[in-house]
Symmetry: C2
């Protein structure tokens, strides 16, 4: 399996660009796949079979064992708390409070978090933290909700709380198994790498991420218990779009404006899905986060979705003058 | 002219990649051209004719009017001061002192600088500035040497010091004319955009940037006065590689290790040249700075240059564990 995909360069197409003056200064290629819950590719841009790490687009899947096991109910987790477990949050005060609540319900403090510290994505929150003289802690990191959920399940199952990041820990095996079912792959077809927060990152064909979001968004072609877990996770995310990302973030805005479930990830990964019976996944080939929004809006628009009118992101010089924009290719 | 290149996507090839685990997570395509001082393309990867903004790789060219006019000699500028005029410096104390010296010799204070403020590239210097509570000023910006040189020429020529960033200011017209000669293009073949520091950015076929560096590195195929200006600029840069960039930066390391003149720029631009009679230019198509070093080293190595042994840049998770690397494609 692995030998087939090492060094592979799936075919892709230009999806977004930085325009400066009248010229494209830099162009971002990528791939996209729409799938139904069966796993059929409904439409593709570039090669839907090529492998990609799904990074934080996996977070709603990684949350499923917490819900399916009964742990979420046993601890009385709210929809908002389930949403932060699925989040790449911006580290705003509100996010930290929800993460703390998950930990407290599981009887833990933030000292148990092993996601690694980084400053909040939300610039004013990061500036406030820096100004206070406090160093960023794990709870400020965008993955702290995911790790709080992982820890809560470990408490519930009486698993070791210290080595829960290891790929052979029962928690990580449970997550791999649920991703296998939701994304319609055998476990040995999912390749593992290391994610930024120190847990496994999952690589799979792009179409399987799209299929996973089609199933997550509908519950179709899943066992009853996983389907029910998907319903809880998607309703939690849809009801709390700010909790899943944060102020001004694309996933949050998209879920506020449209009837979609959306979750992006590092290195230019984006996935969304609809209860109408499809999932869509995008990989920006070079990993540029700035290309995700114009690429996703363009692909959704080409498929006929009525999108809220948004202007392309402006590129400004250090005097605040607009010198370019991040936009589609043509 | 412009109509031909708007929206054009020059052909390119994979030059670098982020490897995570055993897989390429993100791939960076690009183009490269080797040219002689005549303008002949000696070797190319991808399309050498496609336009690109040359961004800060233009800085040695932008410094030429200061030298050629006699202003640099009139003010008694040292080689190190000429080097900082050609620099995208890291804002280390040493850089600030050299920029201040250029301004003082021209009878100016740093208040005249119009390059716009940003924190020093050099992380310890940026942290020290933040800790002091001082806001970054223009002098900390990587272009402050360039702007100090522009201002010095304006003082020497008795040009307006307040609107020197405008494309029709005699300073900017002098720069465009010298770039036209050095890069072997008519002025109307050079397209203008806005650079980050608020002066014109220049777009041209990639091969013309390579030709410009071949001429800059040799003085061949230039008028005597421009050739002499090129000699001064390249000897200043070669003698002061730390001044041109800074601690740990690729241009600095490359000039310390090899008999080359090197100057990179924003959005994945890199140019270098040798007194042996060639120039080389690279554009990473997606603009990723992280791809420049592996792409440049690979292209120089393929052409037979004996490069210092360096390990690829490691990608670490938030726990400091190595989870990947930025490297060539295969």
């Amino acid at each position: 399996m692995q030998d087939d995909v090492v060094g592979a360069q799936p075919t892709d197409e230009p999806l977004a660009a930085l325009w400066r003056g009248d010229l494209i200064e830099s162009a971002h290629r990528g791939r996209a796949a729409f799938c139904d819950p069966v796993g059929n590719v409904l439409e593709a841009t570039g090669d839907p079979e090529g492998y990609t790490y799904i990074r934080s687009s996996a977070k709603p899947f990684q949350a499923l064992p917490l819900v399916v096991s009964g742990a979420a109910d046993a601890f009385g987790l709210t929809d908002e708390e389930i949403a932060v477990v699925c989040a790449s949050h911006s580290g705003e005060d509100h996010h930290l409070a929800v993460v703390r609540s998950v930990l407290e319900k599981a009887g833990l403090s933030e000292d148990y978090l092993q996601n690694g510290p980084h400053p909040p994505f939300h610039a004013p929150s990061a500036a406030r933290l820096a100004h206070s003289g406090e160093a960023p802690r794990a709870i400020h990191g965008n993955c702290s909700g995911k790790h709080a959920g992982m820890l809560a399940l470990c408490v519930y199952e009486d698993w070791n709380l210290l080595d829960y990041r290891e790929p052979d820990h029962p928690l990580q095996r449970a997550i791999l198994n649920v991703i296998s079912e939701v994304c319609a792959l055998e476990t040995d077809e999912i390749l593992l790498g290391g994610d930024g927060c120190g847990v496994p990152a999952f690589a799979m064909p792009l179409k399987n991420l799209a299929t996973g979001f089609a199933r997550l968004s509908t519950g179709d072609h899943l066992s009853d218990e996983i389907a029910e877990g998907c319903r809880r996770a998607r309703e939690a995310m849809r009801a709390n779009p700010h909790t899943v990302a944060g102020t001004g973030r694309f996933d949050t805005r998209l879920m506020q404006d449209m009837d979609l479930l959306a979750k992006s990830g590092a290195e230019g990964i984006f996935a969304c899905g609809s209860e109408d019976g499809w999932g869509m996944a995008i990989k920006i080939s070079d990993g540029a986060g700035r290309a995700v929004e114009p690429a996703a809006l363009s692909i959704l628009s080409n498929r006929g979705f009525d999108l809220p009118k948004t202007d392309p992101e402006e590129v400004k010089d250090l005097h605040g003058e607009v010198v370019g924009r991040i936009d589609t290719v043509l």
